[in-house]
């Protein structure tokens, strides 16, 4: 869980990472929510809102849209008047983040057509390749073993997994 209290204190690392004009990168968050909130509210109002006495399906989303607009507006105002520290810096191996996401993306793409065994072998091999420093034969071996053991284990639990073109 993210640390709660005093979580947005200025840290030495994050101080100084600002946009031109001294505005913190944090301003992106309320701006984005404001735009999305506006689109959401327009969408909410396109449904029947009804009245307070006879509420329809658009009423609650309309309230939520107003909450989003007001809260993000206040947040934006606070950011402009009292800029908060920017985001935490990226870690030294930040490139692993897109690499892991891409690996999961490949798994999602392969899962139905290629089946669980092939998709999970590819996913495990990619993850171990990106996350560690192992020889290629070890990566392939671990990936194959992990896929096979997990396939057996999940089958034992009764989890339905797509077989793909393989006969098992």
């Amino acid at each position: 869980m993210t640390e709660p209290a005093a979580s947005r204190k200025v840290s030495e690392k994050s101080a100084g990472r600002t946009l031109p004009g001294g505005v913190s990168w944090f301003i992106v968050v309320p701006l984005l929510v404001l735009v999305l909130g506006l689109l959401y509210t327009i969408g909410a109002l396109s449904y029947q809102v009804g009245t307070l006495a006879s509420p329809k399906s658009g009423l609650f989303p309309a309230f939520v849209g107003i909450l989003l607009l007001v809260a993000s507006g206040f947040c934006l105002y606070e950011e402009i008047t009292r800029p908060s520290p920017g985001p935490d810096p990226l870690g030294p191996a930040w490139w692993r983040v897109p690499a892991i996401c891409a690996s999961i993306g490949v798994f999602i793409y392969l899962l139905k057509p290629a089946g669980y065994l092939i998709a999970s072998t590819v996913l495990t091999a990619l993850l171990i390749f990106f996350l560690g420093r192992r020889p290629r034969w070890a990566i392939v071996g671990i990936a194959l073993a992990t896929a096979a053991v997990s396939y057996y284990f999940f089958n034992l639990l009764g989890v339905p997994l797509p077989p793909g073109p393989l006969p098992f």
């Binding site: 869980m1 993210t2 640390e3 709660p4 005093a6 979580s7 947005r8 968050v29 929510v33 909130g37 959401y40 969408g43 449904y47 307070l52 006495a53 509420p55 329809k56 399906s57 989303p61 939520v64 849209g65 909450l67 989003l68 007001v70 809260a71 993000s72 947040c75 985001p87 935490d88 990226l90 870690g91 030294p92 191996a93 930040w94 692993r96 892991i100 996401c101 999961i104 993306g105 999602i108 139905k112 669980y116 999970s120 996913l123 495990t124 993850l127 171990i128 990106f130 996350l131 560690g132 192992r134 671990i142 992990t146 997990s150 999940f154 639990l157 989890v159 339905p160 997994l161 797509p162």
Partner: protein, 504 residues
């Protein structure tokens, strides 16, 4: 007497092989995820939530609850031995626990922490047994207005307690509620924000959102850091026994930690974390040796470790009696209840006694099991930290994706999980609380339905809410939690200015 009979029946349910296996697996896994820095009980519960779908309801809930309170035990191990909190609830334990390790008293710190957790956990279950039925009876008087007020109260208090600014918290609450409105709504059956997609028409499932926000996001945060080279201290079995003086100094803090922790569990928000800070501050204030704080005072380990376990028990009270989770782990437990078609709330004890009493009995047994597991097996748990990180993270990702897919056999859920993992990663980078996003997602539907019903009953008169005493009380307390800290700060500022003016 009724409770005693119920508890005996609960133990009878617990003795079935499936439930016993679920209990052992739950508390063991809980301890493991507690030990591992990065992966917390929320992530682990989120990952296992879909897999628990294949189990019986009682066994699944015993497993999930075991992970939840087991993690509170395990979290202290790395805090004490390595100065790295295995859990966010063990951050405070690092302060005194690691100092004790440096003084060669790691074993005593671990034992006091485990015994304190056991005592607090057991007392919390007794209190849960007392308070959950009382609150459940009280909740039978709840109508739509009261449920709306309760959900609004929950979100207001959560916004105040999760730190950061109020505007930010409300913004995240708004995002959570907005996500919950995607899909077909229950009152009129109209699909909202589905853009013609059948997947979106069904709405966003809790599981992929939570696995993405907590499970995969944890992996991403962990993966971008270089592998830690921290020295892992080992503890021999014979070094585990505290001295008589250490025991004497720990009993008071354990009981006070329990007394502080349990009520914290009843409040929406990160109760367990806040309770540890409160307990530490209390111990420092009442200690006869305040000069030892920061240098390895055992009270600073005993109090907070008891508080977080008591708070974990406390968080189950609103879930079991009202059906409303006030903390992210209990939101996941609610998910497990719903997956198995069991609705927690005032009628849980009468409609599903085997689930309620089975869960309570499992918590008694689980606490004993954790005490037995934790101390002799400390070496094993520490050795988990030596597992190669690439294999561990790859395993977590694999279990997560299979788990999410298995709920609905849906590739769309996997896409939601991936998208939410990026959202969770970004939220962490911006130091925003992902937990604040989960609660509105869980209670959003109840909030909308109770609001619409209230408005229909009152024919649009919002004054109706204020004419209902329970609803009024909840709304006033919620509003006070938002306004009071600001008013108090202003009052203090004015007072200081006045005093400065008088001094001149």
């Amino acid at each position: 007497m009724e409770s005693f009979t119920g508890l005996l029946n609960g133990f009878a349910f617990l003795l079935s092989p499936n439930n016993l296996i679920a209990l052992v697996a739950g508390v063991f896994l809980g301890t493991v995820v507690g030990v591992l820095p990065g992966l917390g009980p929320i992530g682990a519960m989120a990952i296992l939530l879909p897999i628990s779908f294949q189990m019986e309801a009682t066994a699944a809930l015993i497993l999930m609850a075991g992970i939840f309170y087991g993690a509170q035990y395990g979290g202290s191990t790395t805090s004490i031995l390595m100065n790295i909190p295995g859990e966010s609830t063990s951050v405070v334990t690092c302060i005194e626990g690691y100092q004790m390790t440096k003084r060669g008293r790691a074993g005593a710190a671990l034992t006091v922490s485990a015994v304190g957790s056991f005592i607090a956990g057991t007392i919390a279950v007794v209190l849960l047994m007392i308070f959950a039925p009382i609150l459940g009876q009280f909740a039978l008087r709840f109508g739509a207005a009261e449920y709306f007020a309760l959900t609004a109260f929950g979100l207001m208090v959560l916004s105040r307690l999760t730190g950061g600014g109020l505007a930010i918290a409300f913004m995240i609450v708004g995002i959570g509620l907005a996500l919950k409105t995607v899909g077909q709504e229950m009152m009129y059956g109209i699909a909202r924000f589905s853009f013609g997609s059948i997947d979106l028409w069904q709405g966003l499932e809790l599981t992929p959102v939570v696995v993405g926000l907590f499970g995969i996001a944890e992996v991403l945060i962990s993966a971008e850091e270089k592998e830690s080279t921290s020295q892992i201290s080992s503890v021999r079995l014979r070094e585990l026994l505290p001295t008589r003086r250490e025991w004497g100094r720990s009993i008071g803090p354990i009981l006070r930690g329990t007394a502080v922790g349990f009520p914290f569990g009843l409040i929406p928000g990160p109760a367990a974390i806040l309770s540890t800070f409160a307990s530490y501050a209390l111990e420092k204030r009442v200690s006869k040796h305040p000069e030892e704080f920061g240098k390895g005072a055992i009270e600073g380990v005993a109090g907070p470790e008891s508080a977080n376990n008591a708070a974990a028990g406390g968080t189950l009270v609103p879930l079991l009696s009202l059906g409303i989770p006030f903390a992210p782990p209990t939101a996941l437990l609610l998910g497990a209840f719903i997956i198995h078609g069991v609705q927690p709330g005032p009628l849980l004890m009468s409609e599903h006694p085997e689930v309620f009493w089975g869960l309570v009995a499992s918590m008694y047994a689980g606490n004993v099991m954790l005490l037995i597991l934790n101390l002799p097996m400390i070496g094993l748990f520490v050795s988990i930290l030596r597992l190669p990180r690439d294999l561990l993270l790859a395993f977590i990702v694999l279990v997560s994706v299979v788990g999410v897919y298995s709920v609905n056999n849906s590739v769309f859920d996997l896409m939601v999980m991936l998208a939410m993992s990026l959202v969770g990663y970004a939220m962490r980078k911006f130091r925003l609380s992902a937990a604040t996003l989960v609660l509105p997602l869980v209670i959003g539907t109840l909030m909308e339905e109770s609001l619409i019903r209230t408005l229909m009953l009152a024919r649009g008169d919002m004054g109706y809410l204020l004419s209902r005493p329970i609803a009024l009380c909840l709304l006033v307390i919620g509003a006070a939690s938002l306004i009071a800290p600001v008013a108090w700060r202003r009052f203090c500022q004015r007072k200081t200015k006045r005093e400065q003016g008088a001094a001149r």
